[in-house]
Amino acid sequence: MFIAVLAIMLFATIAIVHLRTVEGAADLVTNASHSVQAMQIAQEVLDEIDARMMVPKEAVGLKFNQIDGQYNNLERRYNLEHYGTEFHLIIRVYPCNQYGDTAASSSTLVNKLVVATVQGPAGLKHPVTLSRVYTAYSVEGL
């Protein structure tokens, strides 16, 4: 009887360890897929800023000094019908120098660092962040 109880305990322990390993592997796979999708969302919003800055005369155009007003602290929900889940985007805009350093001397902080952070569903273990430095350069007059 004692041996039978020991055997059941052994079976149960092996089963639990096995299931945890399988679950862990599945989590990693889900995380990888969500990370790729989150990266696309972050890239998309930075490309959107790029594109809008190329048409400053149009109604949708964006000028360098409007980046703060229109994008700082902006939050968007992306309900991706094809992908089948929802992501949350947060954008912050910081003054920075030509290297993207936000802690440099204030007289050199003439550019803007746009940081796009994407948080996702539970399967995304860590938020994905992409950033880009924008300068006052304009396509007007080219």
């Binding site: 089963a15 696309q40 190329m54």
Partner: protein, 204 residues
Amino acid sequence: MSVLLDIIGSVIIAGLLLIMLTTFQYQLTETAERHMYAASMASHMEQASTRLNHLIGLAGLGIEDPRQAVVIASENRFIFRSYWDFEKDTMGATSGPPNVLSIVLVEDANEAMGSAVLIRQGNDAYIEDDVVLENMGYIFWVKELKYKYYDLYGHETHNTDEVRSVDIMLTFRREGPMMDSRGLENRLQLRCYLMNTWLQLGTS
């Protein structure tokens, strides 16, 4: 009698343990292989999205009128003009007609790997006789490809003159690592901007 029962009991327990360990071993092997497949799939998806972003960003390059950049904008095929030579991955001659690039899903692209997105370069909207790009012409493991088009203001459009960005919805599928295992399916949705049409618009 009790000795006999003990022996029978221990044989049953040992047998169960062996069956359990064999099953677990099989499952662990499959999980590990699926994990490897999925990791390569994630890397493949990332490469595919980077490539599509790169190609579509060059749509309309050198075309003075951005309304002439897109040739066909339908749900399953996207064809555009550009003076970029995608075959040589360099700027092409601007004196002649522009190159025409098509990004289309083909069901029987490859016997072994099934359907694939084919990227062809030619000089007209008839793509069947065009050359598939040597270095970046195939994106494999794609089961489904759908496009949605947007104008300058982010409104959905079907008018080729107005297309300034495109949503690409991809479903990747790869058979499982073992004979009887489920296939691996992943989805990806990305928006690519036709950057050169925006630039032409801003500088014209």
